[in-house]
C-alpha cells in the first residue's frame, strides 16, 4: 500500500503550499493595495488628475514639472490626450477655464518650447529660489515611473515655484489679468490690443464636408496664438471655445460646426471686431455634386 503511493503525496503537499501562498499573496493580502500610482487611476480620475496638472501648469508656467507629472499617468501621446480631454470638457459643458488650461498645456507640450507657456503669476513678495534648479535641468530627471518618493520630491522642485502671494484672491487675479500675456483666467480680459479681422474667406474643400467656422488667431507678426477665446452668437444661443485645442491643425486654430440656415456672429472674446452674418453655404464640384463650404476667419492683433 505504502509502496504504491510512492512520493507523489509529497508533490501534492508542495502544490497545496503554492496554492495557499498565492491565495494569500493575491487575494488576502495583496502587495501595495494602498500604494498605487496615478497610472492605475480610473479614467475619470485620470481626467481629473490631468486637469489638476494643467491648472497647476497655468498657475506656475512650469512645463518640466507638468511633463514629469503627466508621465506618471502613462499616456502614450500626452499632447493628444490633453487636447481630446479639453474638447470633451468643452463639449460636456464643464469649466471652460479647465478646458483652456488643458489646451494650453497640450499646445505647450506640442511646441516643445516656451512659446506657449504662460508666464507664472507674479509674486507680490520676494521669491525664494534657494532650493530650486534651472528648469532645463529637468531633462535629466529620472523617468517619473521610476521615481521613489524622494525623487518625486526632487521633480517637484525642478523649477522655481512661486513664493506665497498675497492671500487676497482679488489682488492675485488682478495681477494675472494685467501682467500675464498667456493665458488669461477669464476670456474677457485678454491683455493686449483687441483682435482685428484680417481676412474672411469662404473655403470650398471636399475634404471638409461639414460647414465650419474656422478661426485663426495670430499676433502682429503672424505667429499663431493658442488659448484665445472665440465667442459665437446666434439667434437662439451662443457658445465659446479656444484656439489651440487642435494643435495638429494649427496652434492658433479653432473651429465651430454651423447649422444650415442659421446666421452667426463671430468675435474674439477680448472685445475686438465682430463678424456678422456668417452662415453655411454650398460649394459645387466639377461633376455638379454639392457639399458644404466653410468660412475661414483670420484675426490678428495690430
Amino acid at each position: 500500500m505504502r509502496d504504491e503511493r510512492g512520493h507523489w503525496y509529497l508533490l501534492t503537499g508542495f502544490a497545496i503550499g503554492i496554492i495557499l501562498g498565492l491565495v494569500y499573496a493575491w487575494l488576502i493580502a495583496p502587495q501595495g493595495h494602498q500604494d498605487t500610482s496615478p497610472a492605475s487611476l480610473q479614467s475619470e480620475f485620470k481626467d481629473q488628475y490631468r486637469a489638476m496638472i494643467a491648472s497647476a501648469f497655468v498657475a506656475t508656467g512650469n512645463l518640466p514639472r507638468a511633463e514629469a507629472r503627466l508621465a506618471l499617468l502613462g499616456d502614450s501621446d500626452v499632447a493628444r490626450v490633453l487636447a481630446e480631454q479639453a474638447q470633451r470638457t468643452l463639449g460636456g459643458g464643464k469649466s471652460p477655464l479647465e478646458a483652456q488650461a488643458l489646451g494650453l498645456l497640450a499646445v505647450a507640450l506640442g511646441q516643445g518650447d516656451s512659446a506657449a507657456i504662460p508666464s507664472p503669476v507674479p509674486s507680490l513678495t520676494p521669491t525664494h529660489n534657494q532650493n530650486t534648479a534651472n528648469p532645463a535641468q529637468s531633462t535629466t530627471d529620472p523617468a517619473p515611473s521610476e521615481m521613489t518618493p524622494v525623487e518625486t520630491a526632487n521633480a517637484a522642485a525642478v523649477s522655481p515655484s512661486l513664493s506665497p502671494t498675497n492671500p487676497d484672491p482679488q489682488e492675485t487675479n488682478l495681477i494675472l489679468s494685467t501682467a500675464t500675456p498667456l493665458p488669461t483666467r477669464t476670456p474677457s480680459v485678454t491683455p493686449g490690443s483687441p483682435f482685428v479681422l484680417q481676412t474672411n474667406t469662404f473655403v470650398c474643400d471636399v475634404d471638409l464636408p461639414n460647414p465650419l467656422i474656422q478661426v485663426i488667431a495670430e499676433d502682429s507678426s503672424g505667429a499663431p496664438l493658442p488659448g484665445q477665446a472665440v465667442i459665437i452668437t446666434w439667434d437662439s444661443g451662443d457658445d465659446f471655445f479656444f484656439t489651440g485645442l487642435k494643435p495638429e491643425i494649427g496652434l492658433g486654430y479653432a473651429d465651430f460646426l454651423m447649422d444650415p440656415g442659421v446666421l452667426y456672429q463671430v468675435r474674439m472674446a477680448d472685445g475686438g471686431q465682430s463678424v456678422p452674418d456668417i452662415t453655411p453655404a454650398e460649394c459645387e464640384t466639377e461633376s455638379g455634386s454639392r457639399y458644404w463650404g466653410s468660412w475661414q476667419l483670420v484675426f490678428s492683433r495690430p
Binding site: 495557499l20 498657475a59 520630491a153 522642485a157 512661486l162 506665497p164
Partner: protein, 111 residues
C-alpha cells in the same frame, strides 16, 4: 509538512514579488503618499492663482473624507520629510492655513 511550507513560501514570493497584483481603476485616495502629496501641491499651486478655496477643497475631497485642512497638513508633513523646496512647502502651508477657517459654501464640498 516541510514541502507545504516551501510551497507557501514560493507562492508568496511569486504573488508578492515576481507577479504582484496589478491594480487598475483605483481612486486618488489609494495613491501612494508621495503622489498624494504632489497632488496636494498641485491644488496649492492652482489655488495660488485662482484664489478659489471652495474649488481647492473640492479638488482635495478626492483624497479622502478628512477635512481638507487635515489632508493638506498630512501632505505638509510628508513634503517636509522628502525635502520639497521651501517655496513649495510655503504654498502648502498657506493653503492649509486658509482651509483652517474655511466654511463650505452652500452646495459646496462637505468634508
Amino acid at each position: 509538512m516541510l514541502l507545504v511550507i516551501l510551497g507557501v513560501g514560493l507562492g508568496l514570493l511569486y504573488g508578492w514579488v515576481i507577479n504582484p497584483v496589478k491594480y487598475v481603476d483605483t481612486t486618488p485616495a489609494k495613491l501612494r503618499s508621495d503622489y498624494q502629496t504632489d497632488y496636494i501641491l498641485m491644488v496649492a499651486e492652482a489655488y495660488q492663482a485662482e484664489g478659489d478655496l471652495d474649488l481647492a477643497a473640492r479638488r482635495l475631497a478626492v483624497l479622502g473624507d478628512s477635512h481638507p485642512a487635515e489632508i493638506v497638513r498630512q501632505g505638509m508633513i510628508l513634503a517636509a520629510q522628502i525635502n520639497y523646496a521651501d517655496s513649495d512647502q510655503e504654498l502648502l502651508s498657506q493653503l492649509a492655513s486658509e482651509l483652517q477657517t474655511w466654511i463650505p459654501s452652500p452646495g459646496g464640498v462637505q468634508p
